[in-house]
Homo-oligomer: 466 residues x 2
Amino acid sequence: MTVDATSTRIAELSEELTSAIPADRVVTDRDVIEPYLHDEAEWAPYGTPLLVVRPRTAEEVQVVVQRCIARGVPIVSRGAGTGLSGGANAIDGCVIISFDKMNAVKEIDPLERLAVVEPGVVNDDLRAACAVEGLWYPPDPSSAAWSTIGGNVATNAGGLCCVKYGVTRDYVLGMQVVTGTGELVRLGRRTAKGVAGYDLAGLMVGSEGTLGVITEITVKLRPLQDPQRTVVGYFDSIVDAGRAVRAVAETGLTPSALELIDRQCLLAVDAWKNMGLSADANVLLLGRIDTPGAVGDAEAEQLQACFDGSAATWSAQSSDQQEADALFLARRLAYPAMERLGPVLTEDICVPKAVVPEMLERIEQIGERHRTTIASIAHAGDGNLHPLLITPRDDEDARIRAQAAFVEIIDAAIEYGGTVTGEHGIGLLKMDGLAKELDPVVMDMHHAVKRALDPHGIMNPGKVIR
Amino acid sequence: MTVDATSTRIAELSEELTSAIPADRVVTDRDVIEPYLHDEAEWAPYGTPLLVVRPRTAEEVQVVVQRCIARGVPIVSRGAGTGLSGGANAIDGCVIISFDKMNAVKEIDPLERLAVVEPGVVNDDLRAACAVEGLWYPPDPSSAAWSTIGGNVATNAGGLCCVKYGVTRDYVLGMQVVTGTGELVRLGRRTAKGVAGYDLAGLMVGSEGTLGVITEITVKLRPLQDPQRTVVGYFDSIVDAGRAVRAVAETGLTPSALELIDRQCLLAVDAWKNMGLSADANVLLLGRIDTPGAVGDAEAEQLQACFDGSAATWSAQSSDQQEADALFLARRLAYPAMERLGPVLTEDICVPKAVVPEMLERIEQIGERHRTTIASIAHAGDGNLHPLLITPRDDEDARIRAQAAFVEIIDAAIEYGGTVTGEHGIGLLKMDGLAKELDPVVMDMHHAVKRALDPHGIMNPGKVIR
């Protein structure tokens, strides 16, 4: 489309929208639009949107969807843009619906143990609001300080506590959605149980904005947790740490977190925050036990024994929350710390726990073969590994090698009975991986469901499935 | 269709099937077919099938589905037929696929904490097999001694431990399915986490055989539970017991079961098994606490205090497992005990916990107004109530009154923000209720998904949605 034709389209659409919703919701200024163009996925392509809408109500979202249907304009919904697969990247000629102005915690009900939130609520803000009521919203992606519940739901985000407490999906009771036909509806429920009809709320979770636009979410809560015991282990090699992870699974323990941070991540965190971690450890395992009382004490002992029995060079237990928080902060900072050093291509494979050591070894070999630096963080207790493929800036050859390594890691994960994405989603970066992982018939089922619920094909088209 | 035409159809289909799968899989003898005609839903209509198939492999199931597609013959899949909504009832001219010969526990993997089972495995049999490995499959519908995992998955069955441990959906990792296009595929995963594509495995759970035929299921397991503390409370009135349930929710406790049994159920159990329960209690609340150690002891105290503070006439704690098992057996026997006395129309509403007392009172009023005896059992801690509408045998007027009361209870549940079915499913009996509960647009979404995945309309047609 020519520049003039595009300008005309923008002007027409903008006028049409502002005739129906307040004018300040519609952003056409290219400078203001700039931060909405893409998420944090490295080297994922993105296009040029017509405009950005920042609605304040579900009804405003509905107006936008209806006008987009009428004009055949694709819609990309986004939260904070912390995604790592390109799912929120702009499509040429799309409208971006950003939920940064819909960030209210509308209700916290301690008796029913649920919260009702707008999609733009930041995960940590919901957690804080719940804590005031003695309640806890468990799903805790590493991006919790920035990412939104809407984005978490769209990607079915995981996090550190999944190993014991499950993923976002496990906490979504219901939602309000603008459908692919432009209707505003409620899916799911508020009750503790319910099987009335198909689990369409569950289907929306993890569908990355390709089946509708979520405008409100009802989540389940738990009682606030007691303080936890932290168990730390230092290891010389990542494969030793992987063996410790397998040993934990063999013991039948359920830690409330079991995280791995390798030397390169420790160095990067130290370089940024000067925490002094890399002086002592090559690879760090961070375990948590939150079982109360003497049983919990015994479990912490068992966890430490698993570390020691797998060649830990040092291990310790602590019930000092400040110390524990500092260590887990290092875990959360590992990714942004690596990003400071240059482009980071983030993997998100999940493999059976039994093959964690083999998979970690394989990743090392793949890195060596493709001369790509691979740092590793992992929700190790779930077998959910995040190899971080690091490249120097503006080094085209290094980029190509890293992308080849990325594909090979995906292939290895599938070979080991794993999945190409444990928690980040398909977006753009894992579309080839998805097609490798799923049977072509199952891909057809995806297309059939997509056509059924997005008959106009305007909901984040070209993402997840082609 | 004339008798002759039907006979010809049966002969042709039977011949076609037995040319592709062993002849003993196909049952045409009317006497042998008889027990496969319907589930346990009272007064739910059922038709006459052409024949019953009892396959032994997924590939045999696939053959049956493909032949049924070619001939436009509807398929009804069934497990043990313990359903209470008519979901497994025969349709005129259908083929019934019964999974009674596919009852193998194919794999239990302690390290990955999962089991792979054929659909016909009885719930208690899986539980027993897991216990040998120190593992636990939590979902425990009251029918656990008879119902199958396939049926549990098809209805997203709940049970006693849901209040703490969730429903069947929360334990399904993946499955093998024969699709509506006759293909044999795998949905979901074996890994602890995974977000590769739409949650089609989750969509199949609770879809009551209307979207495909499940031929294998992979379920998540937990470590085997420690012995539990049981807390018993006797109450004069069901509304008092309901207040105790609300008090438990207000306290923020998470019992591992919180069950209600009313006087009529206690009388029926005593009449059958002579357990002597009805001599002491009008209404019984059975609570369980499985938090280990001193914290669990304190929680049991709190639970008992909730009972006492809500006008319990007597309460006690016990860690004697035999005593506890006897009490919970009474709970499990309540439904079959009532069935011995005459036709039982079973409700399955689920309401917010805050309105449990009001809802229980409303049910009493509805019973009085319609001169219908209503006994009650309930997974009370979840707000999931099972009013049992009892009628004398062969009393047409009583049946009509009971059915009117049934509708009124459903309407009241919706009015209180509840759902028409907490765990039994829609089947035939709750189809009107579903249409009342859901927005017409959401009903349209159901139809769109159904058409997408069952394009030939042969998967349990006429159930769940019209």
